[in-house]
């Protein structure tokens, strides 16, 4: 579809009546069909280019007219448009980028329509008002939304301007910092890397995850009643490139998540400016969520894992176990709890000196109350051990508690803290963990995030915010996570 040229008369805008709104809901369902016909529409739907914004506006006008006529023509129109663009792509008339852009636009338009219809339904549910009144409210909101649409082109120009300002600001700060740093340490060469590292150390550092400190940034911004979400919080939630994790924070045998480039990170939607509630898209996996929240190699840290598990109130047992299974398995009590290591070493040494067999050692460890309590401190449950693969080889012992349903605790070096032991532990962790990172939020929690409605929707299509959606928010933001202990 071609964007409107300047010569064309302005497209007719909607002045929605309740009937229009009813039509709109049907339209949104039709668009949902389109959306489901190509899952890629869900991807990056927020990232509309400036050209896409123009096209979106034009398409939106056409759609508006179409759904003022009748439902079937609306549906036909959409499918035809999508097919036409796909055909154009196959014929080489448009690039894959252009096709992707078009999909984004369809998705964006869908979002606008869906936003209104869901808002009406939500108003009715929450406001104890009639559906007609809810529609009127939504219609008013819709008009506002349309005026927002009118700003988009202007925004594009402003965005260009903002880039100039930001570039200028960066240069100014770089110059100032270079001069200051050189005066302090003559040989130092300033680059972006240390700045990134500092932000990482200060903003992503574990201490800031503590609940008593977490809301500081949000409060700072909400006091000013800024309409946008707290920007600092968003930055805080993003991993900075080129940051190394201190060696002592790394568990050597734990699986390591691939470093993600900033440009490939999932885009998040921030809903509540005061609360810093973040939502994730359906494509996000627990891996990507926690990687974004805590940075790469996050699950090698006991503290971080505890943070992820901490809110037991909001978690059902099943959800908790899923997360625990995924993330606790990389936590090594032998290395992360000194008392555990000490107790284990002492116990095993005593048993060996007394001529105990491997099986006896395993039994003794399994039934040792001190170790159980220490493990519970870490994972919140008891554990027992079993030989890897059931072969009884003591050098490959892993601490496992009904791991297929519950959790896995890797205890390195139970008898001989050797490399093979660590590898064995890591391998088991990997093979078990491998199932989890590929699960989507929808699969794990049974909720679907509707981007345009900005809501989680459950299997019945009902809007869901708590507890499951809230759980995700809390995991992502860490804003409500108490200390595990």
């Amino acid at each position: 579809m071609e964007p409107h040229s300047p010569e064309e008369p302005p497209s007719r805008r909607i002045d929605p009546t309740p009937e229009d709104m009813g039509q709109m809901i049907r339209v949104s369902l039709a668009l949902e069909d389109v959306r489901q016909s190509d899952p890629s529409l869900l991807i990056h739907e927020n990232k509309i280019t400036s050209q896409g914004r123009e096209m979106s506006s034009a398409l939106f006008d056409n759609l508006s007219q179409a759904y003022n006529s009748d439902f079937s023509s609306m549906r036909t129109y959409l499918f035809n448009e999508l097919d036409r663009q796909k055909e154009a792509f196959e014929l080489g008339k448009i690039t894959s980028d252009q096709l992707a852009g078009y999909k984004k636009i369809i998705s964006s338009v869908h979002g606008k329509i869906m936003h209104t219809s869901v808002m009406a339904m939500q108003s009715q549910e929450e406001g104890n008002i009639s559906y007609q009144d809810a529609l009127k409210t939504a219609a008013a909101q819709r008009k506002e939304y349309e005026s927002y649409e009118g700003y988009l082109n202007d925004a594009s120009e402003l965005y260009t301007k903002s880039q100039e300002v930001i570039a200028s600001e960066k240069e100014s700060i770089k110059t100032r910092l270079s001069n200051r740093l050189r005066k302090l340490v003559p040989n130092v060469t300033f680059s972006m890397e240390p700045a990134l590292r500092l932000s990482r150390a200060l903003l992503i550092g574990a201490s800031i995850l503590e609940p008593q400190h977490g809301p500081v940034f949000a409060q700072s911004f909400s006091q000013e009643q800024l309409t946008p979400p707290p920007i600092v919080q968003q930055i805080m939630d993003r991993p900075a490139a080129g940051i190394s994790i201190p060696e002592h924070e790394q568990a050597p045998a734990a699986p390591v998540i691939e470093t993600q480039e900033a440009s490939t990170l999932p885009s998040y939607e921030v809903i509540d400016s005061g609360n810093v509630t973040k939502y994730v898209s359906n494509e996000d996996t627990l891996d990507s969520i926690l990687a974004n929240r805590f940075g790469q190699k996050f699950y090698t840290s006991e503290e971080v894992t505890n943070q992820a598990l901490a809110d037991s109130v909001a978690l059902t047992d099943h959800q908790r176990d899923l997360i625990r299974a995924k993330y606790i398995c990389a936590v090594d009590p032998y290395r992360t709890i000194p008392e555990f290591r000490s107790r284990l070493d002492t116990l095993v040494a005593e048993l060996k000196n007394n001529g105990a067999t491997n099986e006896e050692i395993i039994d003794a460890v399994k039934n040792d109350d001190n170790l159980t309590q220490l493990a519970r401190k870490l994972i919140g449950r008891s554990f027992f051990i079993r030989p890897l693969g059931g072969t009884g080889e003591p050098t490959e012992i892993l601490a496992v508690d009904n791991w297929e349903q519950e959790m896995v605790v890797v205890a390195h070096g139970l008898v001989t803290p050797s490399t093979p032991t660590q590898e064995a532990a890591s391998n088991l962790g990997d093979s078990f963990v491998a199932e989890m990172p590929n699960h989507t939020i929808e699969e794990l929690f049974g909720v679907t995030y509707n981007e345009s409605a900005r809501r989680y929707i459950d299997e019945s299509g009902n809007s869901v915010r708590a507890p499951r959606a809230e759980l995700l928010s809390q995991i992502v933001t860490g804003s409500k996570l108490p200390n595990a202990d």
Binding site: N153, L158, S162, V165, I173, V185, M192, E193, F217, F221
Partner: protein, 101 residues
Amino acid sequence: MGQTLSQNRVQFIVDEIFFEQGATEDSSFLELINLKVVEIILDELENDKQKTFVELLSDESKNDLLRTFVENNLPNYKQKIATSLDDYIKEVKLKITHGTT
């Protein structure tokens, strides 16, 4: 565009569209913020602490020490960064809006 835009409208766009949807996706903006954090910390530290700060900053193997150092010498650094960044972002917004009207 600029001729017809009211200040309110510009502000609306900058706040609602750019800073909500654009800036946090923008690596350039993130770099700016990271730079600003360095400057804020440097401003807040006492003179005799600044050299150590820069040395730690320059050594990528000392991330943990860097954080500890800042925590020890600027116990309320989080609030200071938040406040200063808040002010600074407002400044940047002003420069953007001022330049377009």
